[in-house]
Symmetry: C2
Subunit: 202 residues, 2 copies
DNA sequence: ACCTCAATGTATCCACTGGATATATAATGA
DNA sequence: TCATTATATATCCAGTGGATACATTGAGGT
């Protein structure tokens, strides 16, 4: 039972991650605080350390939940265009969560098998949707990497405000064009920059 | 004079940034601490607040210094291949500093004109080295964006350990190939992944 | 049914951080 | 010379991640 009447909570780990996800979705700019989350779960802050070893362990669990959400969002996309759209939409709809996920790469997977498994599922979906079936493995991986670099780089620049402020829709269209996936009937984009780049005549 | 004998320091702002740069170069993983830097400069931690308004102001100054270093590294590159090489080398040689720089996009430039000016110089160099002269402005900007997405995304994935661990040299060659800038006589790269991607037969 | 024990939660401490306020000292310009 | 302004200090605060010691509980073995 998930009751919280007694001394024990029931499923603290799950609720803590859920609170963190809600927090990130709410768009608060401050970093997640273990204490705040524990308090919100009605528990002493030190209780969290029983489930996740330390802050990084907790964030790994949050990131794993994020990858699971992303995998769910990517399910069913079978070709590059819809895949990129879904991927971009996820990142744009969950910018803070996306950041947490992307700050935890394969390099930090040791000791966090759940995170690795969740991320691997996303990679499998990427391979299926992006890479031509007939090609050899190396070519397929190359295609996924190319996509990932573009999407990751473009989304990062967009989310951190490097690019001219634009609607998400407009950005995705832009990204599709730059990635060579444009469907041809989107209007030509305007300048990419936040403001006139140096060298422009006023 | 940069003397530090008396009550006043001489040039605290410059020394604080220099200490931060040295710290980032030393590769310590912990985030910069104003107090630690002030102590290392032989000064009360509150003295820094006179020069930079708050922590974010200090980091903006550090990032600006980083952009200046990057601009210096990019000076003289006149075509895409050498530009990408220099850019990648800078990021790989100064990963922590690169992170600080990239976390502070145009969106945060308000109130930090120095940071903006330094970043604009890098953009001007990018335009000059990457974009064909004959093309119209929109095409040139598109070329720079395409490069930046790839480089930024690829470097981010490499630095955060998402990709298979490889030497920097190897990674740059890989990046050149994926970006379509390979000079043709580099050996074919191996798999990109940290470990066998899902779907491989063992 | 009992009873041990591992899992989970609490209480209390610590070092450290960014930041605020009030004060002291030095440099500068009228 | 002297007031003003820039710079540095002293001292406080709330908040954070983490450590140690202890309390409570539920599950398994007998």
């Amino acid at each position: 039972m998930a009751g919280r009447a007694g001394y024990h909570h029931g499923d603290l780990a799950a609720e803590a991650v859920a609170i963190a996800l809600a927090d990130l979705a709410a768009g608060s700019a401050e970093p997640l605080s273990l204490r705040a989350i524990a308090t919100r779960a009605g528990v002493a802050h030190r209780a969290l350390y029983n489930h996740f070893g330390d802050r990084e362990g907790f964030l790994a669990a949050v990131a794993a939940a994020g990858y699971a959400k992303l995998a769910a969002a990517l399910q069913g996309t079978t070709e590059p265009l819809s895949f990129l759209r879904s991927y971009a939409r996820f990142a744009l709809d969950n910018p803070a969560l996306y950041r947490v996920m992307m700050e935890r790469g394969y390099g930090q997977f040791e000791g966090h098998p759940d995170l690795r498994a969740a991320a691997d599922k996303v990679i499998a979906l990427s391979l299926a949707a992006l890479a031509p079936d007939g090609e050899d493995d190396e070519t397929r991986r190359r295609a996924v990497m190319r996509f990932w670099m573009m999407a990751h780089g473009g989304l990062g620049l967009h989310l951190s405000g490097v690019l001219r402020r634009r609607s998400d829709e407009e950005f995705v269209d832009e990204l599709l064009q730059i990635a060579g996936l444009a469907d041809g009937n989107t209007p030509p984009p305007q300048s990419l920059w936040t403001s006139p780049p140096p060298g422009d005549k006023p």
